[in-house]
Symmetry: C3
């Protein structure tokens, strides 16, 4: 079974979930589109989504490329760390933006690892 | 012929087109970079681009992964619904942000379908 | 050696680098999260990152898809132009947003070329 593809699918659904949180925050805090500011709590939800967008754009190709060179289950395992890290990031950011560090590290470091693994894989042929 | 790749190429060109609309709106409504607010119509064009960015990051991997498991022409057909949905979304948003719902649904549902199809494909091996 | 994958990895690291610049600018110009405005220099760094995000979402699939149809080294070479173009874009934008044109062209034109090459490749089968 291709666990890497499964992690990719879950990562995209996770991002959609953060997007739903933004839509909910629009209603809850009265920030009508196209505005993206106006209430601190809306802005937090929006930043969680935007930061996850930035991470996802890097994570997905890194995951799929690393999967070309390394065992599927190992790469998928690294991907799960990203998923957990993002969840921690989102929860912490909504409570207090200053505490977003650990979740951020837990989602960016797996991507760095996957990129490094891809680089090594490329050089090893 | 790989219709899935063709849909991917068209989806990227569509996104570039929305980016050109933002550039044009900068001049038209006097919103100089790096500002991303200042005129309602510019903000609408910018939100169309940003929302399409969010969608594209999910749609492209979903499209390509689903194409691994399912017939090329079927997956490409689902992708065409996304392309039409995004076009409707952009047109409606520029007229009235409150009317962005149908186009939004028509572009997010195909992606959900592609992700579901990928998930089923993974489990079926 | 898969040069295309190597260019993809470098492009993602380049984007992360622009993200680090935004984090640094937050501290330097006193723009605490979740705000994304408040100081011109922060906004420039943020726009460099966001514009690169927009470009990367298009460049990476275009690069990998073109690599399916055309020689690895040629496609990777086109990708290197993108990398240089983005570097010029970022440097110029931080100095003066009005001078972002040449670097922008040097990173968007390679992507157009890759998309065109993919399209031709699809039709040629």
């Amino acid at each position: 079974m291709n666990y890497v593809h499964l992690v990719a699918v879950i990562a995209i659904f996770q991002f959609f979930y953060f997007g739903i949180m933004v839509g909910r925050a629009r209603g809850q805090y009265g920030v009508a589109a196209p505005a993206t500011s106006g209430h601190e709590m809306f802005e937090r939800a929006y930043r969680v989504q935007m930061n996850t967008l930035e991470q996802l754009v890097c994570f997905l190709p890194a995951l799929l490329l690393a999967g070309v060179y390394w065992p599927n289950s190992v790469i998928a395992g690294v991907g799960v760390i990203y998923l957990v890290g993002r969840f921690i990031y989102a929860t912490a950011y909504m409570k207090d933006p200053a505490k977003r560090g650990p979740g951020f590290a837990l989602s960016i470091l797996p991507t760095f690892g996957l990129l490094g693994a891809t680089g090594v894989g490329v050089f090893m042929g």
